[in-house]
């Protein structure tokens, strides 16, 4: 497939195409646009600004901590306030800054890098943004009202239980953070489907930009790491609100269960934060070194293996909890092993520098700061992986220093490099004011002075989370030095933000691709227009702009795919996952206030319980379902369009007329997260059964024959119904009998689940009873969802939205029904089997 010569095209075509596409993809004007836009540029920019605001808040909290610790016996803060401040510092930086910041960068950059026009689910991105804003704001407002959590950012029970943390501080954390995790999962699904399906023609897996690989890996990690945390938050919140004793030893619970669930999330979280930054380095460093990335395949393999290995490390945060030596040794071995893929990346980057000719611009300076800092953080990480050393420094300031070396050195520095590197692309301006260099030289040396001192204080025995210390403990000078240097660092970060803001708004207009990069994001106009590319590029290598210097011109003239705006709708291309062959044309939704409204009611359902407004929360949940249905109803069409001209002679089907539309792919990955959540629940059940001191309970639930029969019959009907419905729609037949069969099946499964609750009416008596209620609740929730989906499908069929071609929605319902059956049967078996064999 070759492109025609630029000279053969009429002049002015690019401009006409630009004007037409700009009209089609334009956001609403003025204030309305803020609430209705779903364009990746708008959503990404808002994400970036809000995340940066939270970084500033987290930084101010850090300064308060250092002010308190600067001198011994300090009266600057009361211990109660100090507890809130350090808890909020960790919470804000980890949940409100780090993850949303790279999500913002992904939204802004991914479509450009991949050669597509927007993210896969633009409205989902907008929804994630607003949920994040509401959840994050609630947490900050609670802090300003003196209602912040104070149990540390990992909220260990029993300290965080109702007995020791009365008031709503811990609830703010549990509900607020969970809502933010919902936002992160929404974004992760969007990113995965975008990377796998929304790419330029010809962009096979081996031609994908390296950042896309990293962010794909990270997004899968989010889907598998966050659900245990969401489950943990649910268990703790239910224990606090309803006294279901998951973590109360006297009633069959175990506080160690929280630590397992938290660190099943918490350790991968470190890599979830690091890997996007590594992706930025792997993107920027070769360009700054004027060469290509050395060992692309090795770096991909290292990123994948690092991601998976990181799920085998969680217990190294629990080395002092009395776990047997063999268990400790497993996790010590795994913790040392992650140094290998990390080193592969580091050596790849060093080798890239070696083979290229580096220019020491500001992005490169920050990357040099990364190398100097992250390698030290990595080495102290290996020290902490060794059990005897870990025992010595556990919960000391050594650990605090280590995690700051990894997170600031390994994340913040590369992200600042990325901001400077991509500034011309994001703002259309070239940096003019040179505050950035001053800021760099303030931040990096002062960072090392601060945290080397904190390392030393930790080695000398200073415990973390203690609000003050005595003068005779020998830590005074180290703390004073650390505090002074930390304020210099804060000034440096403030100057960086100022430099970026000033340059973004008033610097001179720049030219396209000032760094001479070879990847597609630099092929469009700067700043990137709402439609991204005037036509979908055709690529034949990993560095398309190097392969074809005229590619930008070809794209602008509409010489790629979909270079024709005559259908007046937001179209982009879907390609095959492995080879990047054009498969489908997808029509993206337009501006809508629905994501904002849905975020309002979602956040209300999370936050209303803080004020015991359970009726409001329930109503909000009903509104969530209603708005979600309205949202879904607006997609698709009532008429088969058949294949449409995508350009280059390719006639492609619309995604809505295929068996695997984007919604099907999104459901697959959402169900992956749901499955991990369910698996975490089973893990918790098995953990309590195996380890908790006050087990077994007084009696096990005895399965009733009628309930077993109802469950099996229901599972059969719910499996068969959607299948028969798909078959009927595919043949143009009547689908409602099959749909009714599915609904009856879901009701039967729900009745079986209800029988578990009715047989054990006291979930507050023992952790076993509480776990049974959660298992039954899982089944009940999913049967309700399946029933709603089946009813929705019936309505869609009746309204003419389904046809033998438009069968994707029925496939999605079948997917959810299958998941409900599979997990439902496992959950009911887990509830009944112990009693059957007892």
């Amino acid at each position: 497939m070759t492109l025609p010569s630029p000279a053969s095209q009429p002049r002015g075509k690019a401009l006409r195409l630009h004007l037409a596409l700009a009209r089609i993809w334009a956001s609403d004007q003025r204030i309305r646009g803020w609430f209705t836009s779903s364009n990746n540029n708008d959503i990404g920019s808002l994400f970036l600004i809000v995340a940066t605001s939270f970084f500033v808040i987290g930084g101010i909290l850090a300064m308060l901590i250092r002010a308190q610790l600067a001198t011994p016996d300090s009266a600057f803060m009361e211990p109660q306030v100090y507890n809130q401040i350090f808890t909020m510092h960790g919470t804000v930086m980890m949940f409100l800054f780090a993850i949303p910041f790279f999500e913002a960068m992904s939204m802004l950059l991914l479509p450009g890098m991949l050669g597509t026009r927007d993210m896969a689910f633009p409205r989902l991105g907008a929804y994630g943004l607003w949920v994040y804003i509401f959840g994050g704001s609630a947490v900050i407002i609670a802090m300003l009202m003196g209602l912040a959590p104070d149990g540390g950012w990992f909220m260990y029970p029993p300290l965080s239980s109702a007995a020791f943390s009365p008031g709503i501080g811990a609830d703010v954390w549990l509900l607020g953070i969970t809502s933010i995790e919902v936002s992160a999962i929404a974004t992760a699904i969007e990113v995965i489907v975008t990377v796998l399906r929304y790419r330029a023609a010809g962009m096979s897996l081996s031609r994908m930009p390296i950042f896309a690989w990293y962010i794909l890996v990270v997004s899968v990690m989010i889907l598998t790491a966050f659900p245990p945390m969401i489950l943990g938050s649910l268990l703790l919140e239910v224990e606090r609100a309803l006294n279901w004793p998951f973590f109360q030893v006297e009633n069959g619970g175990d506080p160690l269960l929280w630590q397992h669930l938290f660190w099943l999330f918490g350790h991968p979280e470190v890599y979830i934060i690091f890997l996007p930054a590594a992706g930025m380095i792997a993107t920027i460093l070769p360009v700054m070194a004027r060469t290509n990335l050395l060992g692309y395949g090795w770096v991909v393999a290292a990123a994948v293996s690092l991601a998976v290995l990181s799920f085998g490390l969680w217990v190294h945060h629990m080395f002092t909890t009395g776990i047997p030596h063999m268990g400790l040794a497993f996790f010590s071995a795994a913790s040392t092993l992650v140094a290998v893929p990390t080193s592969v990346m580091i050596f790849s980057w060093i080798g890239t520098l070696w083979k290229g000719r580096a220019r020491m611009g500001l992005p490169m300076l920050w990357i040099m700061g990364f190398f100097a800092t992250f390698v030290i953080g990595g080495l102290t990480g290996v020290m902490l992986a060794v059990v005897p050393f870990n025992w010595q420094v556990h919960d000391t300031h050594f650990v605090v220093a280590h995690l700051h070396y990894v997170l600031i050195g390994g994340y913040v520095f590369p992200m600042i490099a990325a901001i400077y590197y991509f500034m011309p692309l994001l703002t259309g301006r070239t940096r003019f004011f040179k505050l950035g260099e001053v800021a760099f030289w303030l931040v990096v040396p002062s960072f090392h002075i601060t945290f080397l001192s904190v390392h030393m204080a930790g080695l000398l025995g200073q415990r973390r989370r203690t609000w003050t210390y005595d003068a005779d403990q020998g830590w005074t000078a180290l703390n004073l030095v650390a505090s002074i240097a930390s304020f210099v660092m804060a000034i440096g970060f403030a100057l960086t933000i100022l430099d970026v803001a000033v340059n973004a708004f008033v610097a001179v207009r720049g030219r396209r691709n000032p760094w001479g990069a070879g990847t597609l994001e630099w092929a469009g106009a700067i700043p990137s227009p709402a439609y991204g590319f005037a036509s979908i590029p055709i690529v034949q290598g990993r560095y398309p702009l190097h392969d074809d210097p005229d590619l930008a011109l070809h794209i602008a003239r509409g010489e790629g795919y979909l270079g024709d705006a005559s259908r007046i709708r937001r179209e982009t291309l879907i390609v095959s996952t492995a080879r990047g062959e054009p498969l489908q044309v997808v029509v993206l939704p337009g501006n809508s206030v629905l994501p904002f409204l849905l975020a309002v009611v979602t956040s209300t359902s999370f936050l209303a319980p803080l004020f015991d407004a359970y009726i409001v929360a329930g109503l909000a949940l009903v509104a969530v379902v209603a708005l979600a249905l309205v949202w879904a109803w607006g997609l698709g069409g009532r008429v088969d369009e058949g294949h449409v001209d995508a350009g280059h002679g390719a006639m492609l089907p619309l995604a809505s007329e295929c068996r695997d539309p984007p919604g099907w792919w999104g459901s697959v990955f959402l169900l992956l997260a749901d499955g991990v959540h369910f698996g975490s629940l089973l893990f918790g059940y098995a953990f309590l059964w195996t380890v908790a001191p006050n087990w077994p309970p007084h009696s096990y639930l005895q399965p009733q024959l009628w309930a077993v029969i109802v469950a099996l019959t229901g599972a059969l009907a719910l499996t068969a119904g959607p299948r028969l419905a798909v078959r009927a729609i595919a043949k143009g037949g009547t689908a409602w009998p099959a749909i009714t069969l599915g609904i009856v099946g879901s009701l039967a499964l729900a009745i079986a689940a209800a029988s578990v609750m009715l047989d054990r009416p006291g979930p507050a008596r023992h952790a076993y009873d509480a776990t049974l209620w959660l298992l039954a609740g899982h089944v009940g929730l999913h049967t309700i969802l399946s029933a709603i989906m089946l009813c929705y499908l019936a309505a869609r069929v009746a309204a003419g939205y389904a046809s033998p071609a438009r069968i994707g929605e029925a496939g999605i319902v079948k997917l959810w029904a299958d998941f409900t059956v599979a997990t439902g049967l496992v959950a009911l078996a887990a509830a009944w089997l112990p009693g059957a064999f007892a």
Binding site: G297, V304, V308, P324, M326, A329, A578, V691
Partner: protein, 100 residues
């Protein structure tokens, strides 16, 4: 999608095996473990099974190759990494005390 599985499955098998052996070790130290069953022998058997599974995964990648060279090379590296990870991370069953 098959290529994505080629890339991800062997190392995911490592995670499953690692978690399973850790769970087995936890179970072996619990009140549910039969007194007459030698925990170390069972763990050694589980270690062997984990390694064999990784070998099978590696052989599957080698003998059912992807058409895409990049995918094949990366999948082979990842499968070999998973085998090495299984050998290394579960090695404590050879040496350390089981329940102390």
């Amino acid at each position: 999608m098959i290529d994505i599985l080629r890339l991800s499955l062997p190392i995911t098998v490592w995670l499953a095996g690692f978690s399973a052996v850790y769970a087995l070790q936890g179970l072996s130290c619990s009140r549910h473990w039969p007194a007459d069953l030698d925990a170390r022998q069972v763990l050694l058997a589980a270690y062997a099974v984990a390694i064999v599974l990784q070998l099978i995964a590696l052989l599957a990648v080698l003998y059912a190759p992807s058409k895409a060279r990049f995918v094949q090379t990366t999948a082979t590296v990842l499968a070999a990494t998973a085998l090495g990870a299984a050998v290394w991370t579960l090695m404590p069953v050879l040496a350390t005390s089981v329940c102390l």
